[in-house]
Amino acid sequence: MSTDTPTLETGEKVKMTGQAAVSAALFEAMEKDPKVLVFGEDVADREGGGVMGTTRGLSSKFGDLRVRSTPIAEQSIIGAAIGAAMAGYKPVAEIMLMNFTTVAMDMIVNHAAKLRFMSGGQSQVPLVIRTLTGAGFQTAGQHADHLEAWFCHTAGIKVVAPSNPTDYKGLMLSAIQDPDPVIFIETGKTLFAPGEVDPNQGAIPLGKAAVAMPGTDVTLISYSSMMFACYQAAAELAEAGISAEIVDLRTVSPWDKETVLASVEKTGRAIVVHEAVRSFGPGAEIAATIQEELFGKLKAPVKRLGAPYCAVPFAKVLEDAFLVQPADVVATAKAICGK
């Protein structure tokens, strides 16, 4: 994986994966701001630059103090990030997989998210937690959970979940610059899918959704890997004469109510689609808000699609059934559009 930002004419896009985009953002941010740090398990080049290679090259370029591999000790990873952030640095800490945030929840929730508030604004904790997750690779019950709902429910930490290389780059740049803690969710599916990226892609503001595809009959609200299912569903729906608008939240908390409500007000119908378990999932907040804000203006109930209430299963056939499929989106959209 090449880690240098390609030099091209402005406007000319380059093909890169989400991973290359994250890597490019890290290189740029570290280059520009000596306060940016990167650390986590195996992130330095001595350890291969990350198990996935996302941080490859950084330690060779920026030195072993700014880019550090850590012991397997997530509490101490986030703890060190908090202290360094409060002392003026901008750490990008990696928790290899989202399920491993479970051993660092105290540090994330009781400290990182709260210290600005509890200190009455004396302190700030500008850290980024990069973490990878997502089913589809048969890693089973402890390596693929989408736990963003927990962090969305935690006041004081932002939750970012890009779906494409451009957003990976732009949102990472913003997350690093942000004065508050951000959890930055990467997924296997989105990280390795290539896309066209402006080589000069700058920061994309947090908290702003994108209308990824315009439409008139139904709004599909999604983020992260499930954007793929939405695109595919929208294509199938178009054939069936249903025009779907797709909103990519990009930041799940705080989420962009204005964009979502404007879209649903227009279409009159909404389906929230995420990989996380449906029950008490992020989609519930969005559905509850839509029905409240657009009461009487909806043509159908707000629908939610998410994983069933169980752990991520191992067998491929079960994993496929666990994940929302484009066909589920299509069927739901047809049902609420009365087709």
Binding site: E41, D42, R46, E47, G48, V51, S69, T70, P71, I72, A73, E74, Q75, N99, F100, T102, V103, F137, Q138, T139, A140, G141, Q142, H143, P308, Y309, C310, A311, P313, F314, A315, K316, V317, L318, A321, F322
Partner: protein
């Protein structure tokens, strides 16, 4: 390699052969697994323990069927050593309904309580606190059962290790903490993540005996595991065993290994404990070449049968997503 126990136990000929049988079963099974992955017939991530056979083989030779183990993602060797039947094991890693877990757990969460394989976890460090619970249950039962918590060297740096060893010591639990120190945690070399030259020294901080053992030597392993198990059964509390070893195939199947030097890897493979022990059994007259060849052939047949069984098993029904979440099935 460690403080010599005054009256160290030594495996008799029969036990040596039993240890060897378990080692071969592990090794043949591992070899077959990697072959099946290469052929695309298993699609799960696989953490080979090739090179680490002696540790669970020796310990299991000292355990009863109802003694329990809690192990980790790199733990199929621990299960095979504990005499877990291979048919449901293979069905499980192939994601089939006849798997021990009906295909829902897969290789990282294979369990088989019937043979004492209680928990297999993918979260570094988590085998230890849970093992304490089984040990506590044995105390309450008044049984002489012991529980083994297997974990890696990297896991000794995480909080769960500390909490578990402290609790086990305060409560004098019949549990043995077995660290399989293969000198790497994913891509991180031991000394770059661990602040002490020997993990066994951490036992001092828990008022617990701790030993660094040659995990590739069945005799050293036997002596220390025997003492630890006896101690646990006698109600004297836990022991920490740091068993030095090496993993021949990197962290995960497909790992490029370039965080280690070719020399150290070559040296470790050259010191492969399996042929060494095999030769020793022959040299010392414990077994003949023919016996061992037969033993290996029988195991190969068992593995082949298990693969066949797994391959012929059906994938689970999608209704399984609603089962085993709670005791009561979730309505469709």
């Amino acid at each position: 390699m460690t403080q010599a126990s005054t009256n160290a136990a030594s495996p008799d000929a029969k036990t040596q052969l039993d240890i060897f049988r378990r080692m071969v079963r592990i090794e043949r099974n591992d070899d077959a697994t990697r072959t099946q992955i290469r052929r695309g017939r298993i699609t799960a991530p696989y953490y080979s323990a090739r090179g680490q056979e002696v540790i669970p083989a020796t310990i299991s030779a000292l355990l009863n069927k109802d003694d329990k183990i809690c192990t980790i993602y790199r733990g199929i060797h621990d299960m095979v050593a504990k005499d877990m039947p291979l048919r449901p094991l293979w069905a499980e890693i192939m994601g089939r309904v006849d798997g021990t877990c009906k295909g829902k757990g897969g290789p990282m969460h294979l369990t088989h309580p019937e043979t004492g394989v209680m928990v297999t976890t993918g979260i570094v460090g988590s085998s230890m606190p849970i093992a304490n619970g089984f040990a506590w249950a044995s105390l309450l039962d008044g049984s002489k059962q012991v529980t083994i918590a297997y974990f890696g060297d990297g896991a000794s740096n995480i909080g769960a290790f500390h909490e578990a060893l402290n609790l086990a010591s305060v409560w004098k639990l019949p549990v043995i903490f077995v660290c399989q120190n293969n000198r790497f945690a994913e891509h991180t070399r031991y000394e770059n993540g661990t602040s002490v030259d020997q993990i066994s020294k951490r036992a001092i901080g828990y008022g617990m005996p701790g030993y660094t053992v040659d995990g590739n030597d069945p005799f050293d392993m036997y002596a220390h595991a025997h003492a630890a198990i006896e101690r646990a059964r006698a109600g004297e509390g836990p022991t920490l065993l740091e068993c030095m070893t090496f993993r021949f195939h990197g962290h995960v199947f497909g790992d490029a290994d370039n965080y280690m030097t070719k020399e150290e890897k070559d040296a470790a493979i050259a010191a492969d404990p399996l042929p060494r022990f095999r030769q020793k059994l022959i040299d010392s007259g414990v077994a003949t070449e023919e016996q061992l060849a037969k033993l290996t052939a029988d195991i190969e047949a068992e593995v082949a049968d298990a693969i066949e069984f797994g391959s012929n098993s059906e994938p689970p029904s999608v209704d399984e997503l609603r089962r085993d979440v709670f005791a009561e099935e979730i309505p469709a």
